[in-house]
Symmetry: C2
């Protein structure tokens, strides 16, 4: 029985999809005007695991994650320059060149992190008509008004009829009165109102015709519109980072209720934030580290490179509703832990069966499902996987034994929970298994020759192989069953 | 002086960009409803090399390649089902799920072929407003008419004023009279007229509001609209496969002339078609081979797998305006030739300099530029590169010598023309150079031990290494400078 913590009700609820065997899920994607960073990686990995687990449970999941390529203004506000248009101006490019470039880099980073592509990845600029039609309905319902070519959502009226701010728990009365001093908002009836459509200033490059003006849609609108288009007026899960609760998701809720008369989302899910050495990540703080910088170790705060799988594993070692602090020590621990897990996975492929088992695998599967069913508790699942690794190591070291049936079970168990659900790549060396095969065989041959040399007391050769392999970067370990090695 | 064969003038013309130092290029991209095949690979690789060469020459190139995700009906006609909607119906998916899936696979195949992403990759469904505005202008100019909610382009009127069919050389009078018997075209004034906007039938899933009906744009319109949006009313190069000349490009020309009063494109470029064992590729002929099937060798017509670089090299061994026939013998020859080229590239990195050169590298660069300047003549360029490889092999085998300056020149020459312009990947083993480094070192160590064993007359060990490396799949060659190996 899968339970999900619903940010709206603030409690865990049993998951019941709207349509049997099908799940509709919408997650807020990136505004593509810069390189991917941890603020992109965490929601992507969090909801990738949700997607993978729901699929594993047999649901047909339609997973929509958007690309914001217009309308997201600086400071997430209704004024200021469009983030993408600004980058385009600075780099002397067409805005869609900026979008194409950073979207490509985002996709590459997601692939490195083994994040599956969503079922649909709609672009805000590709749904202008749909957004205009959506606005018309909100105006018809009486919750938006035109003002000097722009259209604003009427927050006080919506608040009176439906209540505004339930998700974030903001004090709406305070909100309606304290933001009055902001500049350039004279078009609005109330400073808390937000833009559905903005008339384009003459210098604004991206604009489309509408009943109100040549302009562009407000940032919050795309998610309401595109989720409705691809998932329907009500759908199961809406995800995103906690920082999006207000104003973004609060505005989404207002828009969809005003548009359809009822809320769209059944389960709101929010991943918690990340910090770096205890501080919020920010460009002005000098601790803004891109994913590529993590992968190559090229940022001055990093003592080494961390592989995409280390980053993924580290993020999954925390529950998604907890904070995660990125520091070198914690990342190195994650790297070591992942190494142990992968070593266990590799050893498992070589285990030799006995007639009797002295290990007890009987509770593993149930505990793994219980962890995931408990609001996707990946750290608990990882603990269960380490219990399995401990058993594997015992059998490998002959301090325990396992039947063929138990070994087969362990292989299926690890493939299901480590590879399929947690999405950890087990080849772990960057290349595909196939292209490395001959090289692996060559290393095995080297170690065989070393073993022969030892037998023949040819210490020159055996020492040469030992020393040079160590210098190249191989770690070689003698075990009862022969020699094990890794890069 | 770069010359380009202009399909419109049917002759080679000196290339002069509209704006100094900048080039605008539009190439027709895929309709994403199935796996990528050679009909996708050839234009992509052809115009990738054009893009790479223009960039090498110092132009800032804005390269637009579209994704067709709506409006492309069966048989490229104005009637029949939308190709993507049909696939969505058959697979019980939302059309945009089909688009996302096959677009992802297309991108993966393009990356395997080392085809660079374009600067902008606009989607037809993301530019409905722009297409509606474009149609309005054509109607205002008098070259289109509404009929029962659809809008058609008035071919006879356009033909009278501007002439229709110049690019393809079609006999327009014949065209206007012989297609009259087609079904379901009673909405049209003339059977040669083509749809700019189609009213959606009730069962059609993809439709948008417009001044004429809930409907969708005609297939030809997206390219005129999106090239105008991102490259302007006139731009330099329009590319595509020869099969698109009629009707697609002919309709594009009519649309843009009707819209702006003048043609949009300065240089029309068309790559020729591919055949398989002498026959046109077609699903009904049983010779429809996807790119993935080539890469894995999993189609019954293929005797083995062919790597993406073999496919790319094979395509570039022919001039883009010539036909290419894919057969096992020809592909195996290309594989061997590519192997020779890559061996030469690798040996070049190990060449030892002499005080004098007995090779003459002085004409290589000029001949390479002459080849590319002659309408991107890649087969001639490949010939020049093989001349360089011959010199490399002579120096390596000590039948010739080269100074450090000549070796440096050869390295720069190969990096420029083989890697940068032809886009051939020289690591050639699928993995990244870095992740393979320790393995390569291990193989070198093996060969060093074999050499030591030989010196010590330890034939058991040296034979073991030789036989096992051969069995694993390594090819080892003794040369004067030591041992060379490859997988």
């Amino acid at each position: 029985m899968l339970t999900i913590y619903n940010s709206m009700s603030r409690q865990k609820e049993v998951f019941k999809p709207l349509h049997e065997k099908r799940v509709g899920m919408y997650v807020c994607g990136p505004t593509v005007y810069g390189d991917g960073h941890l603020g992109h990686a965490r929601p992507a990995i969090t909801f990738d695991v949700v997607y993978r687990y729901l699929t594993h449970l047999g649901y047909k999941v339609r997973y929509v994650r958007n690309i914001t390529d217009v309308g997201h203004l600086e400071h997430d506000a209704d004024d200021g320059e469009d983030k993408i248009a600004k980058k385009a101006r600075l780099e002397q490019l067409e805005p869609m060149e900026v979008v194409q470039y950073y979207m490509g880099r985002y996709h590459k980073a997601m692939e490195a992190l083994n994040v599956l592509p969503p079922s649909i990845e709609p672009h805000a600029s590709g749904h202008i008509i749909e957004q205009i039609e959506y606005i018309k309905k909100i105006i018809d319902a009486g919750y938006a008004y035109e003002s000097e070519g722009s259209v604003y959502f009427d927050v006080p009226k919506f608040n009176k009829d439906y209540g505004y701010g339930k998700l974030s728990g903001r004090n709406i009365d305070e909100l309606l009165t304290t933001t009055r001093e902001l500049d350039g908002q004279s078009e609005k009836r109330n400073p808390a109102d937000f833009a559905l459509w903005k008339k384009a200033a003459p210098e604004h490059i991206m604009h489309w015709p509408s009943p109100w003006s040549e302009g562009f849609p407000g940032w919050h609108l795309e998610c309401s519109t595109m989720s409705e288009k691809y998932l329907g007026e009500t759908f199961d899960i809406h995800g995103g980072g906690m920082d999006l609760k207000f104003p973004h998701h609060e505005c989404e809720i207002a828009q969809s209720v005003a548009h359809s008369g009822h809320p769209a989302v059944h389960y709101w899910m929010h991943n918690n934030m990340i910090t770096i050495n205890g501080k919020k990540m920010g460009k002005s703080l000098g601790n803004f580290i891109t994913l590529d910088e993590f992968f190559t170790g090229s940022h001055e705060l990093l003592e080494q490179a961390y592989s995409p799988m280390t980053i993924r594993f580290f993020i999954l070692q925390a529950h998604y509703r907890g904070t995660v602090d990125f520091g070198n020590d914690a990342l190195k621990s994650a790297e070591t832990a992942l190494g142990r897990m992968l070593d266990g996975y590799r050893r498992l492929q070589e285990l030799k069966a006995s007639d009797v088992s002295t290990i007890d695998v009987s509770t593993l599967e149930q505990r793994a499902y219980e962890a995931m069913d408990d609001d996707f508790n990946t750290p608990v699942l990882i603990g269960v996987l380490f219990d399995a690794v401990r058993m594997i190591n015992q059998v490998k070291d002959h301090t325990a034994s396992a039947t063929q049936a138990d070994i087969d079970f362990l292989r299926k168990f690890m493939d299901t929970f480590l590879v399929e659900i947690l999405g950890i790549r087990v080849d772990g060396d960057g290349g595909s298994a196939d292209s490395l095969k001959p090289y692996r065989d060559a290393v095995d041959l080297l170690l065989e020759i070393r073993s022969n040399a030892k037998k023949n007391k040819d210490w020159t050769t055996s020492d040469l192989i030992r020393d040079r392999l160590a210098a190249i970067g191989f770690s070689v370990k003698d075990t009862k069953d022969g020699v094990e090695w890794s890069v």
